[in-house]
Subunit: 128 residues, 2 copies
DNA sequence: ATATGTGCAAATGCTTTGCAACGCC
DNA sequence: GGCGTTGCAAAGCATTTGCACATAT
């Protein structure tokens, strides 16, 4: 029950040729530029589906915008994102996971989940 | 140039009598309930001011809503939030900060900033 | 055939802004 | 009195939804 439509294919292709995190609207624009226009609503619907299927990573920027990117790693991981160009490096942080777990336990919290993202300026966009 | 108006005072009072993170709209509602109605726009404007002055913490939920809370600690810190009732514990993670810094440096990123929040169920809302 | 997916436009929901009235300093 | 502040209503934006039409299986 997940059909292979040309729009879905186009969206996956667009994600594939992009290394960085992009907003739904940017992806919509990318598609238009690539000559495969897809309705914005469709982009949103598919991105949502892909995200809940775990096929793409979703992050929420500080101003509440969702940004999407094709996963590189299947395992749980974090991101180091350039706040200027969106360039991204994925990394893992086993020690940290463990540590979060511990702090939570200390306070009697269970069923833990956490987020950790690092934003900065990549070499090419470093100030001065 | 930051005047002491009754609305600003009321907002601070509302924040003071709340332990958990609240959305701007909830705060607006709290004020109305407390008999000190303040225009929603004013709530937003003040919350913004307080946040950039570092007097309140702002978090962005996954669905892109901003939630506010009076700071307990002046220093940089993180939150352990109950996803059921909003109950919050603040904690620091010096080792982690340091570690994030290091990872960023390894990839040539500068001007680092990071987010880390832990969500879970507090003792009172632990499943079964 | 038929359940799904798509496009379009209207509807949401949070947040921001323009502007005239208002009230600290 | 002057300038930051407020209220209100309108504007903005990203995202969602209703619905008729198209389409993969």
């Amino acid at each position: 029950m997940q059909r292979t439509t040309k729009q879905r294919t186009a969206i996956l292709a667009a994600l594939g040729r992009q290394e960085d995190f992009r907003t739904a609207q940017q992806i919509h624009e990318d598609l238009r530029a690539a000559g495969d226009p897809v309705a914005l609503a469709t982009v949103y619907r598919n991105l949502q589906a892909l995200a809940s299927a775990g096929d793409v990573d979703v992050l929420t920027t500080d101003d509440g915008e969702a940004i999407y990117r094709q996963c590189e790693q299947a395992a749980h991981h974090h991101h180091l994102v350039c706040r200027e160009c969106g360039r991204t490096v994925e990394f893992q942080a086993p020690q940290m996971e463990q540590w979060a777990e511990q702090i939570a336990a200390e306070h009697g919290f269970t069923d833990i989940d956490h987020t950790m993202e690092v934003f900065g300026l990549c070499p090419e966009h470093s100030a001065r």
